[in-house]
Structure formats: structure tokens, C-alpha cells
Amino acid sequence: MSVEETIKRIQSQKGVQGIIIVNAEVLICNAGIPIKTTLDNSNTVHYAGLIHQLVMKARSTVREIDPQNDLTFLRVRSKKNEIMIAPDKDYFLIVIQNPSE
């Protein structure tokens, strides 16, 4: 079951507004650069940059408390939609969904 198919399926689910895959390298300075997206360019860059910082903060919070723990998922629910972020070692997967649509 390839990643491409899964992402296509997510895209076709009800209420999904966009999917962004962001590079998450820490040491090299190309962090927070979107690799693949279904949204328009300006929004993508906006989301990628802001969410990158948020995820770094969340991850450091979890790991400072217990270094063997790690962040697996982050959901930011707002009035209009929900931003779901799944971090990996090298990439983030961000999905913006409006569940009540």
C-alpha cells in the first residue's frame, strides 16, 4: 500500500481542504520547505513555515519532559477547520479538514 495511494485517498475524503508535506531537517537550513502540496503557493508557504515552528515547540515540550518520548500527532482545532499534523523524523504531513462540511 503505497504512500501515494494513501494520500490520494485522504485527499478524496469528505471535507479535506488540503494536504502539505513539509521537509523537517533541523541541522541544515532548508527546514520548513514544502515538498508537495495541494493548496496554492502562498498559503502553502505560510502554513509550512508557521506549522514548522509549532511542531518544533510541541516536540521539544514532549521530549524535554521525557527524552525517550516523542510527538506522534498534533491536532489544532479551530472554529472553521481542523489542522492535523503528523510529524516524522524527516517530514511532516499536514492535512487541513473541515469535518462538518
Partner: protein, 620 residues
């Protein structure tokens, strides 16, 4: 010549300068006190500073009175200051080097017992070295004081304020590398290997470096994307998830009966024309269940499918296996929950390993290894045998009960079989031709693993043991048509249940040849299953689309729930299974749909008396 003396005797007249003050006698006699202070006459006396507290300019009362007349910088330093100590150490070093050299020379000239003497001298030097080393390190320690030329700016360092977790990561990586190196050193000691490993390491480094900059490879996102899909689906089906967890039908307090709350529906688009031939919950991951898809129709045989769904994602299966022949039965191993045994319509059996990422089974029987000649109707995993080999039983219409054991012999798998063939004891056919009973379903006793029940297409149930290969212990004349399912009770050691297309469900005590209970459900019964939480609750599905749930503790004659769950005239229900821990059941029909229902509280009543399992321990 006498004129000079005369000059001396002349009166001296007072000469007043022109600008001298004219003072009176009194003023001349006035005493004026002059005070010697240490104030600097040149220091300003009217300095004013702005105070932020009072927001005004205020005169400063105290002013610095220091007047510097002369400044001379000297080059004397205190003997105990840092600088002095470091200078002394430096001088000492230089001296020490000189002494070492001289001692070396001495050793060369000595020449008596050069071995020992040399060693001693070396050791002595070593001692001297150590002392020097200490001083050096001291010097070095002290040299680490920051000065304006030796100070590193924070901004030019690689990582500012690194998080504790990143340092932990780096440390663990280093540890792992070191361990790997140690192992490599242990295993490889030859020089050639060292060269190879060095080359490998360099290659690895280069490739990783290369990929570091070039990798846009998102295949690492597999796990992350499945998680994300489940979250998205959970958002969409949020109300169902909430119902699953929290909904309890309050109408149950007022009536004896119960209801089934519909939850998720599972359907795979490529399995449209196939019917559900078997269902099985995974014992370890209790949200995962397996579905076998195929066709019961003899004329419409085609391909089949094995799907594994999780309750967390009802839109798409987790595992998909396509097969050439219809899947008729499946069983998931209780302990090794990644092993799935499958029986096909063409008589083969296969074992799939979910951990491997291949679409093919890891083991498959063939004509050579003795596959069945008729469809395999049921497979059941057994406990590993004494040599820790996995084994399972299969039942087929060709009248054989075969035990397959997976043994690895010289890197290949061999299947050893034990067969029980069901020859009819009373040969009614002419010419003494042997006929066999066709097995349809099998169930092994929960406690006495050797004993099993076998349902046949002729409607009989045979009780036998693995110890006998040709002998049946007892036969029950159970039904008029083929026995679709036979199951031992999870708790009571003597009770089992059977169902058949002859519209009946019967409950037996294996010591008694006639059934204890008979229930007529007005339609062909496809499957029956005991509940895992109670010895008196069971559920049956019929071809008119109804699910019947009974609780013998509450009502011995009538079902507590008889609910129509699919459209009446179009689908028939084929199989039903209770989840081991959650109060849900899955029901499969002949259109490939699997429906999941939640049992209402009346259907989930556990008996008040503590249930003992067969071995005498109380049920959790």
C-alpha cells in the same frame, strides 16, 4: 672704594608695586585662617544630573575629587595572580624540556643493561612527563579564561541552546555506532575486512550525504500517512466513534429485549460480487479483523480476496490479498497474530504472513503436498507442537481432516499431515464402494485440545479425538441439512451449539445424544457464535437478513433481539463474530458488506455468579 659700604648703609626704602592693594592697619593685622583640604580645586562643583525618579535635573552633591598628576604603567605583577602563575608554568615547561633532553642523553651514555635501565629511565621520564603533563593541563585549564581575542561569539556556534532531546539523540546514535563498531571488530579481524569495512563506511557516508541533499523520498511517510488517514476518517465518522464508545440504549431498562446499534460499514469496491465467506477477529489487536471473500455458488467461481480491516478506518482495508480461487475460510493465529491460515475453494490451503510486504502467501499447499480435492470449509490453528512448529487443521468436503505442520527442513518448508478420513461406518452403497462423509465445520474443545467436533454435509456431528485416525467417539444426528457451524461453549465444558440451513439452531450436551435446546428461526441459519463474555449468550444470522441474539439466562425460549440488519430481499447474512473485548459484533453478507453493530446492555449481561473457566480460574 668706600662707596660700596655707603651704599649698604643707606636706608632701604620700601618699594610698592603699582597694583598692590591699599589696606588699613587693622586690615593688615587681621588673622586669616587657611585650611588645607584634600579637595581638588579643579573639580567641578556644580554638576547637575537628570533623575528619572523625580524627573528633574538635580545638582549632584558629591563629585570625584581625584586629581591625577602623573601616570606611569609598570610591569610588575603579583606572584600569586593568574598571569604570574601561567608565566611561571611556561618557564617551568621550557626548563623541563631541557631536563628531559639531558636525561635522555644520560641514558644513552649509561649503557649498562640497556634493557632494564632504559625501561627505568623511560618510566622515570614517564613520571616526569606526567608531572609536566599535569602542569600543562593546569596551564591549559587556566588558559581557557576568556579574553577579548579568544572569545567565541554565540552566533558563530553550530547549535545555540540545543535542546536536551537533540543531545540525547546524538548520544544514542553515537552509542549505537560504537556498539556496531565493536561487533564488527569482534567478527572481522583480518586486514582485508578492515579495508572493506572502511570502504563500506565511506560509501555509506557518501551516499547518505548524497541523499541528504537529494532525498525527496516520501515513502518514509507510510506510517504517518496511515495515522493521518485514520484521523481524517475519525473526524468524518466522529458520531459513530462516539456511539461505539459511549452510547448505551436506555430503553433496555424497561424491557427484557435488546437492540443492535449500527456502527460502521465495511466494503471494498473491488469485492462487489463476492460474498463474505468467513470472518475472524485478531486476538492481539482487537480492532483488526479478517474477511474472506469468495463465492458459495458452484457455477460462479472466480477469484477471491482476503482483506483485513481495522475498526479505526472503515473506508479502506489495511491489508489486501487477491487470490485465484475463492477464499472459503480463514483463521488468525491467537498468539502469532500475523499468521493467517486460509482455505480455498480449489482445495488448497495457504498461510499468509502479514509482517511481510508481499501479496503472496508464504506457504501454499499444492497437489504434491496433498491438497484437498474439494473446497476447504474450515481451517483452525492449533497450539504449537512440542517442537514449536506452527500447525493447523483443515476440513474439506473430500472427507478428510488434515493437520498441516510448518516445518523448516534445510531452508525449505515441508508440510507433514495427519489425516482422519471419515468413512461411513455403515456402507449403504452397493459393491462395497467406500463413501465418505464430507466435513463442513470443525471446532476443538477449549480445554481438552485433542477432542473435536466435526459437522458434516449430511447433517451429522461427529465427536472424535486427534489421537484416533479412523475412529469416531460419538455421532450425533444433528440436522436434516448440512451443519453450517459447530462451536464449543467458551465456559461450560460439555455444551456445544450447532446450526444448519434446516432453519434450526441446537444446543447440546456432548454426553447426551439428543439436543438440550432447539430453536427454529424461520429461515436458513448461516452461522452461530457464542459470546466471549457469557456462557449463555449466543447470536445467529439467517438468510432473511436478521440477527438473532439469545440469552438463555434471561429467556430460554425466545430471542432477546431479532433485528433486520440488511435489506430483506437482496442480501443474505452469512457470518457473525463477537469481538473478544468490545461489545460489538460483525456480520457479513453475501454482497461483500460487513456491518458492525454495538450490543445493547441487555445483550451483554454477565452472570452474577462468578464464572469459572474450564480450568477452574475465575473469568476476568
Amino acid at each position: 672704594m668706600g662707596g660700596g659700604v655707603e651704599e649698604w648703609t643707606q636706608e632701604r626704602t620700601l618699594e610698592k608695586p603699582a597694583n598692590q592693594l591699599d589696606l588699613s592697619e587693622e586690615e593688615l593685622n587681621e588673622e586669616i585662617t587657611r585650611i588645607l583640604t584634600s579637595n581638588n580645586p579643579h573639580a567641578p562643583q556644580n554638576i547637575v544630573r537628570y533623575t528619572y525618579k523625580e524627573r528633574t535635573y538635580k545638582p549632584m552633591s558629591t563629585v570625584d575629587q581625584l586629581a591625577v598628576h602623573c601616570v606611569l604603567e609598570g610591569n610588575l605583577i603579583h606572584k600569586d595572580s593568574d598571569e604570574a602563575r601561567s608565566q611561571r608554568a611556561q618557564q617551568g615547561l621550557i626548563k623541563g624540556q631541557y631536563t628531559m633532553q639531558t636525561s635522555l642523553n644520560l641514558s644513552i651514555y649509561k649503557d649498562e643493561d640497556p634493557g632494564e635501565e632504559a625501561v627505568e629511565m623511560v618510566e622515570g621520564e614517564g613520571g616526569v612527563n606526567e608531572e609536566m603533563g599535569d602542569e600543562e593541563s593546569n596551564v591549559r585549564k587556566e588558559r581557557k579564561l576568556k579574553n577579548q581575542f579568544n572569545f567565541w561569539d554565540r552566533g558563530s556556534q553550530t547549535l545555540n541552546n540545543p535542546l536536551r532531546c537533540t543531545m540525547y539523540d546524538v548520544y544514542t546514535e553515537e552509542l549505537q555506532l560504537q556498539e556496531k563498531n565493536k561487533e564488527k571488530q569482534r567478527t572481522q579481524s583480518s586486514k582485508e575486512d578492515k579495508r572493506e569495512t572502511k570502504l563500506l563506511l565511506i560509501f555509506n557516508y557518501l551516499t547518505s550525504f548524497f541523499f541528504f541533499f537529494q532525498s525527496d523520498d516520501i515513502s518514509k511517510l507510510a506510517r504517518v500517512s496511515t495515522n493521518m488517514e485514520r484521523m481524517v476518517v475519525q473526524n468524518i465518522f466522529d458520531d459513530i466513534a462516539q456511539d461505539f464508545q459511549y452510547f448505551e440504549d436506555s430503553a433496555d431498562e424497561f424491557s427484557e429485549g435488546g437492540t443492535l446499534l449500527p456502527l460502521w460499514k465495511f466494503h471494498y469496491s473491488k469485492a462487489k460480487r463476492l460474498s463474505v465467506t468467513s470472518l475472524c477477529w485478531n486476538q492481539k489487536y482487537q480492532d483488526l479483523f479478517g474477511v474472506g471473500l469468495g463465492s458459495y455458488d458452484f457455477t460462479k467461481q472466480g477469484s477471491g480476496m482476503l482483506l483485513l480491516y481495522t475498526v479505526k478506518n472503515c473506508t479502506f482495508p489495511q491489508y489486501i490479498f487477491s487470490t485465484d480461487s475463492s477464499v472459503m475460510c480463514l483463521d488468525i493465529h491467537t498468539k502469532m497474530s500475523y499468521l493467517v491460515a486460509v482455505g480455498f475453494y480449489d482445495g488448497c490451503v495457504a498461510v499468509y504472513n502479514l509482517k511481510l510486504k508481499t501479496m503472496l502467501p508464504t506457504h501454499k499447499s499444492s497437489v504434491l503436498s496433498g491438497k484437498h480435492t474439494d473446497p476447504v470449509w474450515q481451517v483452525r490453528w492449533q497450539k504449537d507442537d512440542m517442537d514449536n512448529h506452527h500447525n493447523f487443521f483443515s476440513v474439506s468436503s473430500d472427507g478428510r481432516v488434515v493437520s498441516w505442520t510448518l516445518i523448516k527442513v534445510l531452508k525449505e518448508y515441508v508440510y507433514i499431515r495427519y489425516t482422519l478420513s471419515l468413512k461411513r461406518l455403515d456402507a449403504l452403497s452397493p459393491e462395497g464402494a467406500e463413501t465418505v462423509d464430507s466435513g463442513r465445520c470443525i471446532d476443538f474443545h477449549k480445554e481438552f485440545d485433542n477432542m473435536f467436533l466435526l459437522g458434516t454435509e449430511e447433517g451429522k456431528i461427529h465427536k472424535s479425538s486427534k489421537a484416533y485416525s479412523n475412529h469416531l467417539i460419538q455421532t450425533y444426528n444433528a440436522h436434516n441439512m448440512a451443519v453450517e457451524a459447530v462451536r464449543w461453549n467458551h465456559f461450560h465444558p460439555r455444551v456445544f451449539i450447532s446450526c444448519s440451513y434446516d432453519w434450526t439452531v441446537k444446543i447440546w450436551d456432548h454426553t447426551v445424544p439428543t439436543p438440550m435446546f432447539t430453536f427454529d428461526l424461520n429461515a436458513a441459519v448461516g452461522d452461530v457464535s457464542w459470546a466471549p463474555y457469557s456462557s449463555t449468550v449466543f447470536a445467529a444470522v439467517t438468510s432473511d437478513g436478521k440477527v438473532h441474539v439469545f440469552d438463555l439466562n434471561t429467556n430460554k425460549y425466545k430471542a432477546l433481539c431479532q433485528q433486520l440488519v440488511v435489506a430483506k430481499d437482496t442480501s443474505q447474512l452469512t457470518h457473525i463474530e463477537f469481538n473478544p473485548v468490545h461489545p460489538i459484533i460483525i456480520v457479513g453478507d453475501d454482497h461483500g458488506y460487513i456491518n458492525c453493530f454495538k450490543l445493547s446492555p441487555n445483550l451483554r449481561k454477565k452472570p452474577k455468579v462468578s464464572l469459572l473457566t474450564l480450568s477452574g480460574f475465575p473469568v476476568k
